[in-house]
């Protein structure tokens, strides 16, 4: 029977290996989770990821509307398409979660991260660090005779690349905020 032309149902995973990736590839998705800002809501979201064995690559959270007690949690995660769908459905079950947006599939979006880098060194290395910072449009927000703190905003890839370059030039410490993301366009 296939008068309906719907594809047949059985999946190819084994019962105890539900998240096996047979056939389907892992994908990286950025989710924007709009939540009622009540105590413990972040713990609920994080608990869901750890309790059910999902990945968190990056997580940011902040209140976005004080009046309506609304916060926005941005999570970058990886998984097979089935797992990603399950993550969204599970997030939707959390009572204070108002909305879940998958920015990766809901059309084009912008993603940015901010990072601070402390780079210490003298001589050629110091000059080279400053030159590269200039190319990356990083700002020096603190400087001493033997160190800089650079501030850089960009995609996660750009920040990774800058960190790689700074490492041999005396990278001491870095701090990054995690991804903030919005869809492009007017709505």
């Amino acid at each position: 029977m296939n008068a309906l032309n719907i594809k047949q149902g059985a999946t190819s995973h084994s019962a105890y290996n539900l998240r096996s990736t047979y056939g389907d590839e892992n994908e990286r998705h950025t989710l924007a989770i709009i939540v009622e800002n009540q105590p413990g809501v972040l713990a609920r979201v994080i608990g869901l990821f750890s309790g059910r064995g999902y990945n968190i690559e990056s997580l940011t959270v902040s209140e976005i509307d004080h009046e309506s007690h609304t916060s926005r949690i941005t999570v970058a995660t990886t998984g097979t398409p089935q797992v990603i769908d399950q993550i969204k459905a599970q997030l939707g079950r959390i009572v204070p979660v108002k909305d879940v947006h998958d920015l990766t599939v809901e059309g084009p979006s912008v993603e940015r991260e901010l990072a601070l880098f402390k780079v210490a060194g003298t001589g050629d290395k110091r000059v080279e660090a400053l030159r590269l910072a200039d190319i990356f449009r990083a700002n020096a927000v603190d400087s001493t005779l033997e160190s800089f703190v650079f501030e850089l905003t960009g995609t996660s890839e750009k920040i990774d690349a800058f960190a790689e370059l700074m490492r041999p030039l005396g990278l001491v410490e870095m701090a990054r905020t995690g991804v903030a993301a919005l869809s492009r366009g007017q709505d």
């Binding site: 029977m1 296939n2 008068a3 309906l4 719907i6 594809k7 047949q8 149902g9 059985a10 999946t11 190819s12 995973h13 084994s14 019962a15 105890y16 539900l18 009622e36 105590p39 413990g40 713990a43 609920r44 608990g47 309790g51 089935q82 769908d85 399950q86 459905a89 599970q90 939707g92 079950r93 959390i94 009572v95 204070p96 108002k98």
Partner: protein, 574 residues
């Protein structure tokens, strides 16, 4: 204020256990009459009793316990209710707000501990928010996929005066979708019209949806003539005596039901969640069927099994629409093909998979349940169970004609559930015959509740199939671990008759099949709690059984086939 909110929610029954952090609420309860409080003997018992109450009435169960150990004792019950989608509202006391975080006496991070085992929970720090939170809690527990919620109330918040808001004023953004998508419903009806080997696979969601859902299901099944099977949790939504009923499916389900699931071309899942006890080996699960799935929780859909026709909505609403669309399109089915499908099912049924070798000397557990069924089926009867072989035999050999009459711990499989649950059921239905089918090991886990049954004159019948073994564990050790029965003997058992008598209840012991009927009648007619020690065959195995990691069509039917059936890969599964 708490009591007022409960009354406004229509609550008249609370199960609980007092302690320092909830004394102000107990004081309120003392000074009124509208709400009856049942004092259990352990907080786990309170939660299971509330589950029994809820499952047998369709109303939320309410529990009141103290902080710290009171709350932690409730955790197993909460987890049980979460997995089986039972609506509960649990109130816990907490140390006063100004002491939270100081390791105060009987302080525990109750919302932290119970976050993963509740549908939602709240710590109320402000008395003005208390009544609103209580009303929202009832809304969340009973709306959408039901589940347990918990409200943690610090003692100073209980004492303080605050603004009371009635239930009407509550606005919650939590409003799950109940109407199914009409295009999907039409797609399902189209599939039903042409299906040659259709099957309804129904579950606990039909019970959750309410009595109307069971009525609509009966109408749909009877008018399409399709066979219907159900999970453990859905028993009773379609009557066991109905002629389209082909029995429970799953690991210990009937041969005909499992083979029909394996061989069908259209599977219509209504309120079931493709649990691993059902699917067995996933890549061989019903390989040639188009699958439709009706569920109110979007996360249940495509979680385990990919479905072709997903319908998110409440069972009763969706069934109503399915019936409407199906009728308006002329009530079509491929009746000739469906008839030969039935022929095939009858052939499977002819195997008589529930047959067992009876004995004149010892009581076979299956026989005990067959007799229990015969002697009680005309009563206004409710059955609860503990967890183990007896639970599966009860599901196989007792017949359920209506929803809300079968209370069992399915998802968590909590030994110790059945006795307190039977107490909750009896509280809700004082004149009914309430029987807990138990194993001796499970029963001992919450035996202290005999005190509760006595105190409130609740004539619950405890029907223990005593095999002096942790039978289900022993069965697995026989099949998987070379008959090495590591710690699966129930040793040093009490004399159950004397134990009953020590509580002031009635004890009955029976070991001869010839005496069984009289003994059961004595149990039924006795006006008060009865502890029935039914000594049964010790090494009986529960069949049919689909071994872990096997497909539906690789089912074991009897003793002969059990050697070396579970391979190394299967044995890591539970």
């Amino acid at each position: 204020m708490v009591v007022q909110a409960l009354k406004d929610q229509g609550v008249d029954t609370v199960f609980g256990y007092p302690g320092g952090a909830v004394l102000p609420i107990y004081d309120e309860i003392f000074q009124q009459n509208g709400i009856r409080h049942f004092l259990v003997r352990h907080e786990q018992g309170a939660v299971h009793a509330a589950e029994g109450y809820a499952r047998s009435t369709g109303k939320p169960g309410v529990v009141l316990v103290t902080s710290g150990p009171g709350a932690t004792n409730a955790v197993t019950g909460l987890t049980d209710a979460l997995l089986d989608s039972i609506p509960l509202v649990v109130l816990t006391g907490q140390v006063p707000t100004f002491m939270i975080g100081s390791d105060a006496f009987q302080e525990a991070d109750t919302v932290g501990i119970t976050r993963p085992c509740t549908k939602h929970n709240w710590l109320v720090k402000d008395t003005d928010a208390l009544s609103g939170t209580l009303h929202e809690a009832f809304h969340v527990a009973t709306t959408g996929r039901p589940g347990p919620v918990l409200i943690d109330i610090p003692k100073d918040v209980q004492f303080a005066e605050g603004e009371y808001t009635g239930p009407k004023a509550i606005k919650s953004h939590y409003t799950p979708k109940v109407k199914g998508d009409l295009d999907q419903i039409t797609a399902l009806v189209e599939a039903m019209e042409t299906a040659e080997k259709p099957i309804f696979y129904t579950g606990g969601g039909v019970i959750n949806s309410g009595p109307a859902a069971s009525q609509l299901l009966r109408e749909l099944v009877d008018s399409t003539g399709f066979p219907i099977t159900s999970t453990l949790m859905g028993l009773g939504s379609y009557p066991a005596s109905g002629d389209k009923w082909i029995g429970m499916l799953g690991m210990h389900g009937l041969y005909e039901a499992n083979l029909a699931m394996h061989g069908c071309d259209l599977m219509i899942n209504i309120g079931a969640r493709f649990d691993d006890r059902i699917t067995g080996k996933l890549d061989e699960f019903s390989p040639n069927s188009v699958k439709a799935h009706v569920d109110i929780d979007p996360s249940s859909i495509n979680k385990v099994i990919h479905v072709d026709i997903p319908i998110v909505g409440d069972v009763a609403h969706v069934l109503e629409d399915i019936l409407k669309v199906w009728k308006s399109r002329g009530r079509k089915t491929a009746s000739a093909e469906v008839k030969s499908w039935w022929k095939q099912i009858e052939d499977w049924r002819a195997i008589r998979c529930l047959d067992y070798k009876n004995s004149e000397k010892t009581i076979k557990p299956q026989y005990a349940l067959q007799r229990l069924q015969e002697l009680t089926k005309t009563h206004d009867r409710y059955i609860t169970t503990e967890v183990g072989q007896h639970q599966m035999w009860a599901a196989q050999y007792l017949g359920f004609e209506d929803p809300n009459r079968w209370m069992t711990s399915g998802g968590l499989g909590t030994m110790g559930y059945g006795f307190p649950a039977s107490i909750g059921v009896q509280v809700a239905h004082p004149d009914a015959l309430v029987i807990n089918v138990a194993g001796e090991a499970s029963w001992l886990m919450n035996m202290q509740e005999m005190g509760t049954a006595m105190q409130y004159h609740l004539p619950v019948k405890q029907f223990i199939l005593n095999n002096e073994r942790l039978g289900m564990v022993r069965q697995w050790q026989e099949l998987l671990h070379g008959e090495r029965y590591s710690s699966s003997w129930s040793e040093a058992l009490p004399d159950f008759v004397k134990l009953a008598e020590a509580f002031g209840a009635k004890g009955i012991i029976c070991s001869d099949p010839a005496d069984l009927d009289d003994a059961i009648m004595e149990m039924i007619t006795y006006d008060g709690p009865v502890l029935f020690d039914c000594l049964v065959e010790k090494h009986e195995n529960c069949f049919p059984m689909i071994p872990s990691g096997k497909a539906h069509n690789e089912m074991l039917l009897g003793e002969a086939e059990t050697q070396g059936v579970i391979d190394a890969k299967g044995s890591v599964l539970v």
